[in-house]
């Protein structure tokens, strides 16, 4: 288990090879050498090869996560670009976009370059997302153009909603020039107030201040209306409520080009899980009702929601041990993402190949990321999935520097077993 480098020829033998861009599957083998694809399909096999039997497994391109927190710079006690990369590989991801809510905030070309330089030698491709406003303060636009030139793939003030509608208009208009999306955490902070969990019967029973679903959907509406008005590129992160799904559907039907993501935890969990005040379930936006959860699944199946993104948010044990009101929001996501999403979505009627698309071509399209190829000469960027593997998510599956997940002990069906990028190979099972 864990990360290593392979030497010589590596043969992924006899799997179902799925190209999510062309939506095409063939049965065969892939031969790798020196971090590149040497051959696909039937080929003369060199003597000195290592073979990995992929019978019954799916070989596809490595997953892309467009929403993660690697905490570097500033909170390296929670995660670093390096430890985050291991968590990514453990979950089948070879490409991760990191949010700018670091210390300092990623709001200048210098900070974007810091991430790119620091991440250059890592086994995972990391793309920084820059802040919309300087210091995420919501007051003035950051140097968006310079950040894009330095390698930022999108802009977001992350967990801090851009409350100022005028500034959001400017951001959509201005970022549109660079062809990158504006990612706004959709929440009316006044409606959220001191809310801790979804407003409903459970928040009443637990005496915890509630967060109504409309605190999300009214902001989703504002942003959709602004996207239509400006023709800018809007991406809505971690949609959590039925009302938001309905609004996004309406605007997509009108022909407005917007994209939206959903997290594995919103697909698989509801506020009902919070019964005993487990702070690992405290997340923003909050886990909502079963009715909302079903709407998110429908939204993904019908294409209203475009892709899955983890919102991987590591926090220290010390911070999550605080009382519910003082504990921070967020949970780990990368390692459990495919297991959770595949379990829930295949039970709802999706195919394994659909689920793979929500982790590959779909999120890549949201941020205009470079297509990966499974052809001779292309860089190795692959994941081997056992779609039938039933497994329990345990501590040993966590490679993040933090441990904050409510999913330990949960049973999943479908597992990314091997992740390969360039010369690196990560084995998620012994």
């Amino acid at each position: 288990m864990g990360l290593s480098k392979y030497k010589g020829y590596l043969l992924l033998k006899n799997g179902k090879i799925f190209d999510p861009y062309k939506d095409r599957t063939i049965t065969g083998s892939i031969l790798l050498k020196n971090g590149k694809i040497e051959a696909v399909g039937n080929t003369d096999l060199p003597e000195d090869r290592t073979e990995l039997d992929c019978t019954g497994k799916i070989i596809t391109v490595g997953f892309t996560d467009i929403h993660a927190h690697f905490r570097e710079p500033g909170r390296e006690d929670k995660e670093t670009l390096e430890t985050g990369s291991l968590a990514a590989l453990a979950g089948g991801f070879t490409e991760v976009c990191v949010m700018p809510n670091t210390a300092p905030v990623l709001d200048t070309p210098e900070s974007i370059r810091f991430i790119n330089e620091k991440a250059a030698g890592l086994p995972v491709k990391i793309h920084p997302i820059g802040a919309i406003t300087t210091g995420q303060k919501g007051e003035g636009l950051a140097e968006i153009g310079e950040m894009v030139r330095a390698g930022a793939v999108g802009i977001s003030d992350d967990g801090i909603p851009l409350a100022n509608g005028l500034l959001m208009r400017y951001a959509l208009e201005y970022a549109g020039m660079y062809g990158i999306p504006v990612i706004n955490h959709a929440e009316d902070i006044k409606l959220r107030d001191a809310g801790q969990i979804n407003e409903g019967e459970l928040s009443t029973r637990l005496g915890l201040p509630g967060i109504p679903d409309i605190s999300e959907s009214v902001m989703v509406y504002r942003d959709l209306a602004l996207a239509e008005f400006t023709s800018g590129r809007l991406h809505i992160p971690h949609v959590s409520s039925r009302k938001s799904v309905d609004l996004i559907r309406q605007f997509k039907l009108k022909g407005v080009y917007v994209t939206a993501e959903v997290s594995p935890h919103h697909l698989g969990l509801t506020d009902g899980a919070i019964r005993d005040f487990d702070t690992n379930l405290k997340v923003a936006p909050p886990l909502r009702s079963e009715n909302d959860r079903l709407a998110l699944i429908e939204g993904l199946l019908e294409g209203t929601l475009d892709c899955i993104a983890t919102d991987h948010a590591p926090h220290t044990l010390e911070e999550k041990e605080k009382d519910f009101i003082n504990a921070p929001c967020g949970m780990l996501g990368l390692e459990s993402a495919f297991g959770m999403a595949h379990t829930v979505l295949t039970a709802a009627g999706a195919s394994t190949l659909d689920v793979i698309k929500w982790f590959t071509v779909k999120p890549q399209k949201v941020l205009n990321l470079q297509t990966k190829q499974i052809v001779k000469g292309a860089p190795a960027d692959l994941v081997v999935i056992d779609p039938r593997c039933e497994w329990t998510f345990e501590k040993e599956n966590i490679f993040s520097r933090s441990q904050n997940t409510p999913m330990r002990g949960m049973r999943f069906k479908g597992k990314p077993e091997l992740t390969i990028r360039a010369k690196y190979i990560f084995r998620a099972t012994d």
Binding site: E199, G200, E201, L202, S203, T204, R205, L206, G207, L208, P209, G210, P212, D276, F277, E318, E321, K322, D323, F324, I325, N326
Partner: protein, 308 residues
Amino acid sequence: MGNLTREHFLDLETAPKQDLQKIIDTAYTFREVLDRPIKKVPSLTGRNIVNLFFENSTRTRMSFELAEKRLSADVINFSASSSSLTKGESLKDTVQNIHSMKMDAVIMRHPTPGSVLKLTRFVDATVINAGDGTHEHPTQGMLDMMSLHEKFGRLEGLKVGIIGDILHSRVALSNIFGLTTMGAKVTLCGPPHLIPGGVKELGVQVNHDIDEVIEWADALNVLRIQRERMGVGLIPSVREYRDFFGITAERMRNHKKEIVIMHPGPMNRGVEIDSVVADGGQAIILDQVLNGVAVRMSILYLLLGPND
């Protein structure tokens, strides 16, 4: 396991009816002790109890301390203002430090819902919830129920109105859970935005007309309206609250009705309740205070005392 089905006393939501009944029955015994000239029994001799208060409290802390002393337990008090919490020590450390002094029970009040449940994971002692934020205040719920039981001889079928800011009230929530478990009927009355969403799922009625609720009810539990909520968008003014939800002398005169008035204290006289009503013959507010000691003795005894 002792005399209750649970090891701790954390909430009334999940407490079974048999436990609630047993607490009330046993409380009558201690109520009798409190009427004796020597108001002390040796039931908890040699037991160590810490009152751990992370939030200001006068009457609840005094009531617990008195109950503990009447049972001959050894008591220490810890309050946040004098504590190292202000120096940045975590709740876990504070609690574990206190616990390593070999405490048998921890009585805790804390501003965050769920914090008392969390405490049970940090220490190996009996834990009693003395109020966790806007969640529950189960010993208050028990003393309210005992006072109603004392007055009416039953709880089953009793009609109780709870008046005021339900949303921010742990007293209301514990009353709702306890009373519905015991078969009483509960109607909530207050401004709509101070009644939490989904509350009807808890098996209660909501009525914003105070006069209709008075006509319906056998007893009213009048909640304290916190003055800090006035004028911040929640309650327009004292005058308006009093006119629409206040238990005023005039309102009670108009109804000419036998009705029992309770209040968990401390009261804002002239706001949610008039002095004439609070001090009048229908009020059992001071009985509640005495029953509070008896109920807390009962709970401590059932959790820490000798088994039947």
